[in-house]
């Protein structure tokens, strides 16, 4: 069992940020980004209720099994694409090693 994984978050200015994420402490992608001082508001605290952690999955991780809550929220977000996810709903597990996501624009 690995103790950490490596992921990349690309910010809105297209700059990639390589981040080592510890496993076993139940982090989600929104928390990881916020913890690395990237511009993710995470306003609702991770309840899939604000879309401020909206991002695009750029690597070939097949993680598009969204909950109804997440789909609902994406219906209210903008710039939504087929590879859109809410960062707070992506759990940092061993399978996420090598994940690359790009932060979506936030509307007004």
């Amino acid at each position: 069992m690995k103790e950490s994984i490596n992921i990349t978050i690309i910010d809105r200015e297209d700059a990639p940020h390589a981040i080592e994420v510890p496993l076993g402490i139940d982090l989600n992608l929104m928390e990881v980004g916020k913890g690395s001082d990237l511009p993710i508001e995470g306003t609702c605290g991770g309840m899939a209720l604000c879309a401020s952690c909206h991002c695009y999955v750029e690597s070939d991780h097949d993680i598009f099994d969204r909950s109804d809550d997440e789909e609902d929220m994406l219906d209210q977000a903008f710039f939504v694409e087929d590879n859109s996810r809410l960062g707070c709903q992506i759990k940092m597990t061993e399978e996420m090693d090598g994940l690359v996501v790009k932060l979506a624009e936030v509307g007004d």
């Binding site: 789909e71 209210q76 509307g107």
Partner: protein
């Protein structure tokens, strides 16, 4: 003019509970909230979600917590201004404040407690370049009076309950209703979805899915919108009188940011001695404030409000002695 002891900006759980603690000190409160109902996020965003960290409640739904708080503060007869956003704050010569709301309501109080959570909830606006220039000239984010849309050509965008419900309602009022949604399926209440599908089949709603509004046109007043089908990239222009984007609400700090308070990352800096801000007489409690070690928890907000009213009492009655009483000993002496 409404006069009170403490004007509380924000009627979420923390603002509500502060009424109780203020009441124990015989201080009256008036609450102001941009939402039309009390409860803040708990009522507007997640009323059916359980909260597990309210002391004494292994689990309580957010909506139930609000109901309980309303019952708990009832003896202290709080008054409310709901559905209005605070706009201006003016300090008077006697040190008190007058708050003016978006509808022109004025509230005078010697103490202001900002319990505004994440800010006030405002409609999410789609990222369309010239959206602002058509606001109130064909673009509406909230439907206050549906009669405004009688015999008009209306385009609604969104896929949630409010987009569905208003499409159904306006199908009988407006001359033409077009509903545009980014996906092929809807996640609103099942019977609303079925109703919309039936109305679409009957030709009463023009349903366009997997599409979005990509442009607004008009000269001084909206006269058409551009709809782009996402998969094929096909664009078409539809003549309209009104465009109603319904993408839910998101919190904004709003005019509070202009009140001369020290703001750090959308939160108001406070002294943890009494949760006072840099402006004498203004306090900030709950999620809206920040200090070293701050946790945005309802239970922390309750604590902050409780300590804050002690300081507010001293400000309002500098010469009066305050003796601390347990409710278990004294009971709750409500107001007439």
């Amino acid at each position: 003019m409404i006069e009170t002891d403490i004007a509380i900006v924000g009627a979420g759980p923390v603002g509500l509970f502060t009424v109780f603690e203020a009441g124990l000190l015989k201080l009256r409160c008036h609450l102001i909230d941009a939402l039309p109902i009390p409860g803040g996020q708990c009522a507007e965003i997640y009323p059916k979600k359980p909260i597990y960290d309210i002391p004494g409640y292994p689990s309580i739904l957010a909506g139930e917590l609000v109901d309980n708080l309303m019952a708990q503060i009832e003896p202290f007869k709080p008054t409310f201004t709901l559905g209005e956003r605070v706009e201006e704050l003016e300090r008077q010569d006697d040190g008190s404040f007058i708050i003016t709301t978006s509808d022109g309501t004025k509230i005078k109080a010697p103490v202001v407690a900002i319990a505004a959570g994440l800010g006030c909830f405002e409609p999410r606006k789609p990222p369309l370049e010239n959206l602002a220039q058509f606001e109130k000239k064909g673009v509406d984010y909230i439907i206050k009076d549906p009669e405004k849309f009688r015999d008009k050509k209306v385009v609604i965008a969104g896929g949630g309950d409010s987009a569905l419900d208003w499409s159904i309602f306006l199908a009988d009022v407006s001359s033409e209703v077009t509903l545009v949604h980014r996906r092929s399926s809807f996640r609103g209440a099942l019977d609303s979805v079925e109703k919309v599908m039936d109305l679409a089949k009957a030709g009463k709603i023009n349903l366009i899915t997997e599409a979005e509004i990509t442009g607004l046109n008009g000269n001084g007043k909206l006269d058409s919108v551009e709809i782009t089908h996402k998969k094929e990239g096909k664009k078409k222009t539809v003549a309209v009188d009104n465009f109603i984007p319904l993408f839910g609400l998101s919190p904004k700090l709003g005019p509070i940011a202009e009140w001369g308070l020290n703001i750090n990352k959308n939160a108001i800096e406070v002294d943890t001695l009494d949760y006072s801000t840099n402006v004498d007489g203004i306090y900030a409690i709950g999620d809206i404030n920040t200090y070293e070690g701050k946790l945005k928890l309802i239970l922390c907000g309750f604590h902050e409000g409780t300590l804050m009213v002690q300081s507010a009492f001293k400000r309002i009655y500098p010469d009066k002695k305050l003796s601390f009483k347990y409710t278990t000993v004294n009971g709750v002496q409500g107001f007439e």
